[in-house]
Amino acid sequence: MENKNERRKEQILRMSGVNPKKCMRCGKCSGTCPSYDEMEYHPHQFVSMVESGDLEPLMSSPSIYKCLSCFACVDRCPRNVEPAKLIEALRLTVIREKGANHLLADQIPALLDEEMPQQAIVSAMRKYSK
């Protein structure tokens, strides 16, 4: 179990290219995050929890779907840690591992309206499905 978690952490770090050890715990990512209030775990917690191998709570939290991928935390981080890439890597890990597509194609029509651009649908499929 331990080993699986370690491997998973390594995989997440490799995919994202993030080195959480660079973080100096300033919290600027969470200070800047527009989705802070929607999240259970916040960007700075993603960084420190991945670093300590505490992946399960993050992977089962809806927080991973609340990130807007706006990259404000990436640009404003004074240590170049790139929390958004870490969150994305966690989300992909969940989707890939569990085969659990967060969004299924047949769910989409119900969510659509006349005006919604393709972009939203395509990117949602990309972000939330395998």
């Binding site: 995919m15 994202s16 989705s35 609340k66 807007l68 706006c70 994305e88 972009q119 939203a120």
Partner: protein, 264 residues
């Protein structure tokens, strides 16, 4: 001037205006837009994980097309621009990624030469700023939009990640403001112009998206703007759907109007 023009899927459907006015304006400015043959959707979002290959191949194909024609590749949609530019950056800077992509490309029917990010990726606004020049644009304006107070809405995709996009100052950009000035209107600077509209969660969490969109349109309104201009169909959709009190238009529409080519 000839450029490779990547319209993107949204411009063919919901954002036909964005495309149409871009074409008319380009013609008025003496730019020939050459569409790559059989281009495919960029995917709408750049998946930052470095082991995601397949989703980025369509961008690479478009980039290779531009490289072969020795033209810059130009987009008007913020999302397409973001995806193509980030893909190009990864091709330049991530060797492992690039070699895997090239291995895929070698399987194509007429395999191209290995690609290493040689093409120049420009947003239509950058094309105007860097290749045409705002002074030239100003001189070409037939119907100056005098007196209009316009808020530029950058959103995320044009600017971030700043190191990759290298579009403008991430926190204090000026390109769209300069564009607005060149068209004879008055830009309104407001702090939410580089904040996210929540576009990517429009499906997932409409309430969250509404909150973000309203913050943007309210900020623009509070600073005295009469309309919001954007380059992104998703931003426009979000702002309008969530009840922006200001009209939201594409920059190409303003451009076509000022150049006198909106109605033909």
């Amino acid at each position: 001037m000839k450029v490779t023009y990547f319209p993107g899927c949204t411009l063919r459907t919901k954002a036909k205006d964005l495309d149409l006015y871009a074409r008319r304006s380009a013609e008025a400015l003496g730019i020939e837009l050459c569409e790559p043959k059989d281009w495919q959707c960029c995917g709408g979002v750049f998946v930052s994980a470095s082991d995601e290959i397949a989703t980025k191949l369509s961008s690479v194909r478009a980039l290779i097309d531009a490289k072969e024609k020795e033209q810059p590749i130009v987009t008007v949609c913020s999302a397409c621009h973001n995806v193509i530019k980030q893909t190009n950056y990864a091709m330049q800077n991530d060797e492992t990624f690039a070699s895997r992509v090239n291995a895929y490309m070698a399987q194509e029917k007429n395999p191209p030469l290995p690609y290493a990010g040689e093409a120049e990726v420009l947003h239509f606004l950058e094309l105007i700023r860097d290749k045409v020049g705002f002074d030239t644009l100003k001189a070409a304006v037939k119907n100056p939009l005098t007196g209009k107070k316009i808020a530029a809405y950058y959103g995320c995709l044009l600017l971030r990640p700043g190191k990759v996009m290298a579009f403008d100052d991430v926190e204090n950009p000026s390109i769209i403001e300069d564009f607005i000035r060149a068209l004879g209107a008055e830009p309104v600077i407001y702090p939410a112009r580089n904040e996210c509209c929540g576009g990517y969660v429009a499906l997932e969490d409409p309430a969250s998206a509404k909150k973000k969109s309203n913050a943007v349109s309210d900020s623009a309104k509070n600073h005295g703007a009469e309309m919001i201009v954007t380059a992104c169909p998703l931003c426009k959709y979000n702002l309008v759907k969530n009840g922006s009190s200001l009209p939201v238009v594409y920059f190409t529409e303003l451009l076509a109007e000022a150049l006198g080519v909106k109605e033909v």
